[in-house]
Amino acid sequence: MTDMKHTDMEEINIATDVLVLGGGLTGIKAASEIAGSGYKVVLVEKDAELGSQKGSKSLIGSEEEYKGLQDLEDKIKTDSNVEILTQASLVSAAGVTGDFTARLSKGEEVIEHNVGAIVVATDFATGALNEKYGLSPADNVLTQSRMDELLASEADKEKLSNRTVAFLVGLGQEGNPLVLERVLRSVLAIQEIDGCDAYIYAGDLKVASNGLERMYKESREKGAVYFKLTEKPEIVENGKTISFFDPVARRNIEISPDFIVVEEEMRADHLNEELAEILRIDVGPLGFLQKDNVHFFPVRSNRDGIFVAGSTRGISGLPSAWTDVENIAVEVRDLLGDGKKSVAKNKVVVDEDKCVICLTCYRCCPHGAIYWGDKKAIISPVACQGCGICASECPMDAIQIGGFNDEEITEKVKSGVVSGNGTPRILAFCCQNSAFEAGEMADIFKMQFPDGLRMIKVPCAGKIDLDYILNAFVAGADGVMVMACHPGNCKSDKGNTFAQWRVNDAYRMLEEVGLEKDRLCFAGIASNMGSDFSSMVVDMEKRINELGLSPLK
């Protein structure tokens, strides 16, 4: 924001309604929080009823622990700020943050809504892992869900008295604390049943969640026996016996349980991919809708105005889903405000005379901020994050970024090639989010810093044009560094990837003109690592010293 202090601002109107996709508990909470901030909400659920996660209560614990869930659901149904569409789904979502046009289908009907923000709140899905353990469904082989059902019914519980139950967890999958929590809850419930013994065959116990270590201890004190293994035990005759070799006791330990309970996996909703395509947001690891990028945490997607909550972005229990939702409420409030948004006029400018609407910019914009009109590409000043990837990719050089236009940077390249007492002249193009900060840190902390090094700040490594690199050499630089965020840490997701590509192009060109490849380097660095910056630039200076000064000067 500080960069725009001296630029002309303009005020634009934005839509303030909010679309929430997913009518599970997370979606209900999101609708409630956002409506509570004074915005109108459209809550969309594919099923006939809201609250779909409630079918399997054990996933989230006992009712006493989660007071008020029913009230929340009842209240949302009578909230005049919330329009509920059940048996409905998203068909398309055009536009950008502050101005999305969402088309929703409900039966034969297609309903259109203009919204300023979209919240995705899908639930996780569960699946049996019997196959991983070579077990087929049978009377003695239960899934965790089936066990939960038995334990929820007083009559069924009886069937477990004087029985031996074996649990398998963390050996068929890596698992997570929620998977373990379900097992621990069952094991604790079993301890209350007369004569029922629990044996747990476990890989890594995923206790990294509040309260689980205590539950684990309590269950052991009440008699549950844990076998911590690094590989699956031997299971014979579909669970009739389970055995493994105990290295401490130096013998085989074999048990014949009456029931064997198989852990379940929790995975991303199968709807996620389709939603990602419609919303043009990235699919991250394991099918969840958020890339593993710290700049998106907790609730951002790669597109401004589209937020991801709870199990949409990763396996999540209700407490963390609630945390997400409240963070979204804050983000939405900040984004939509009173429906007026102030943006810098020169944030990004497309030259109508140069633009041929080739749509290169539309395709490369990681923020989905670009669409097109009759005469030129249009970049939404609200959605644009100012990374400049489009400006550098545009084959017509039709796009300029406020504060970082090509002329200014060319000037900085020229004036940056300075003689430092005969030491190599090195230009470092530095992403302002990482390398530039690290460079300043190295300087301020008086770490080693070559005399002839000059940093040129860019909004994102994606703004580093091939021309900038080549111009630097033409201007007489002995070495050029392109310093970006590490892969996976770019605020614009792939600005560093574009920079790497351009550096690779530049390598080929340097080779053609007979300039050593070592005069150019690409490096990833973090904002808080002045020491890394210092060692990188010092290394670079050493390499240049070995090569000698540039023959172009």
């Binding site: 997570n176 990294a208 892969p487 890394d532």
Partner: protein, 395 residues
């Protein structure tokens, strides 16, 4: 009601406090940020980047960015070297503040430096006499600690407690020889070593450590200490750190002694698989550490395959210390009249809302309410800010 004239006090300038303060300032709420040490950033600002050839999502860089946001934000007034003395609640909170009695733990030199270039002041004089011996060594702009700190009363509409945690004191596990043997360090020490030197050197001789052992769960999941919680951050930091070390030095031999490996990042299974190919995992927590020649360390542990004892030597031992309740928790609990849970962390109102407390107008953010990593602390602070905004009736 507008945010005008609404004021919130945030107690603690670590990542949770910084995030909470900044989130509130986005809504025109005035924030008084109280930090007992002379620097903002808490522990999180001391962590190093753990990227290999790609980002490992440790989040250390986001702390730097948030600290910068806060110092650039005029709505946030920072009071360094200041602590809360008492509060008076009559509608608004009237909070008495005093100069902090907290002494920096590494005051071997006359001047100490903040961990971030954005710390202001960057240098603080903690020992005037030492500085007078060599006045040229005192950096420009250094402030005397004695002149810092705010004494007086502030009236605020709500308070967010974000006073954080303390790393487990590894000296409590005497058999590991922490502070006795120079090459036994904590995860916290290693963060600082890498952040300062960009590489892992042995404290005893400054040489690159080749054979490195990590011991997990130091202070966490420890029945004897009564610490019945998983600190949730130690597996992630140890494995990420080990990957960083291995990336910079492919010949490094790393062993991780553990009970149960916890998930790291979103694609945890893939990451764990990579770790298994890069270093050795031993599911056993060694108890005794013996000093050897050249300040190496010998440890005894049980071999998983045959159950026999093995003695093995290492250049460097890293103790993965856990997250313990903050040193001021019981005092703050008295001052603010908010209860602690059975583990000594602050208790939220319920499982779904761990940021609100039974005391109206007092909220929690970050590790003050239990173990969290950087991302979770920031998210928790966002949730606290949301609850505060609702409490203040800001629209």
């Amino acid at each position: 009601m507008s945010a005008k004239n609404k004021k919130v006090m945030v107690v603690g300038g670590g990542i949770a406090g910084l995030t909470a303060a900044w989130e509130l300032s986005r809504f025109n709420i005035d924030v008084e940020l109280i930090e007992k040490t002379p620097f903002l950033g808490g522990y999180a600002i001391q962590y190093c980047c753990k990227a290999t050839d790609e980002c490992r999502q440790c989040g250390a860089c986001t702390v730097e960015a948030m600290l910068k946001n806060v110092v650039d934000e005029p709505k946030i007034k920072v009071h360094l070297a200041t602590e809360v003395e008492k509060i008076n609640n009559s509608g608004r909170f009237s909070v008495d503040l005093k100069k902090s009695s907290c002494k920096p733990d590494s005051a071997t030199e006359g001047v100490i430096r903040g961990y971030s270039k954005n710390n202001s002041p960057l240098h603080v004089i903690v020992d005037k006499e030492k500085c007078e011996e060599n006045p040229d060594a005192v950096p420009e702009g250094a402030l005397e600690l004695d002149t810092m700190g705010f004494s007086g009363k502030l009236d605020v509409d709500a308070v967010i407690l974000a006073s954080g945690f303390q790393p487990f004191d590894a000296e409590q596990k005497g058999t590991y020889g922490y502070k006795k043997f120079p090459n036994v360090v904590t995860g916290m020490d290693l963060e600082r070593i890498i952040r300062e030197n960009a590489t892992v050197v042995r404290p005893s001789d400054g040489k690159t450590a080749q054979k490195i052992a990590f011991i997990q769960c130091v202070g966490s999941r420890d029945e004897r200490l009564g610490n019945l919680w998983c600190s949730q951050v130690c597996c992630p930091y140890a494995l990420r750190m080990a990957e960083r070390i291995k990336h910079k030095n492919a010949d490094a031999e790393i062993t991780v002694f553990y009970m149960d490996i916890q998930n790291v990042g979103k694609d945890y299974a893939g990451f764990y698989e990579k770790c298994k190919t890069d270093f050795r995992f031993v599911r056993n927590i060694p108890v005794d550490v013996f000093p050897m020649e050249n300040d190496s360390l010998s440890m005894r542990y049980m071999n998983e395959e045959d159950g026999l004892c093995i003695n093995e030597e290492f250049d460097l031992l890293v103790l993965s210390v856990g997250i313990m309740p903050g040193p001021d928790n019981s005092n703050l609990s008295d001052v603010f009249d908010v209860g602690l849970n059975e583990d000594g962390f602050f208790a939220g109102i319920d499982k779904l809302n761990s940021t609100s407390t039974l005391k109206d107008g007092i909220f929690l953010a970050g590790t003050v309410a239990g173990p969290k990593d950087i991302a979770a602390s920031m998210a928790h602070a966002g949730q606290a800010a949301s609850e505060v905004i609702k409490h203040l009736g800001v629209s």
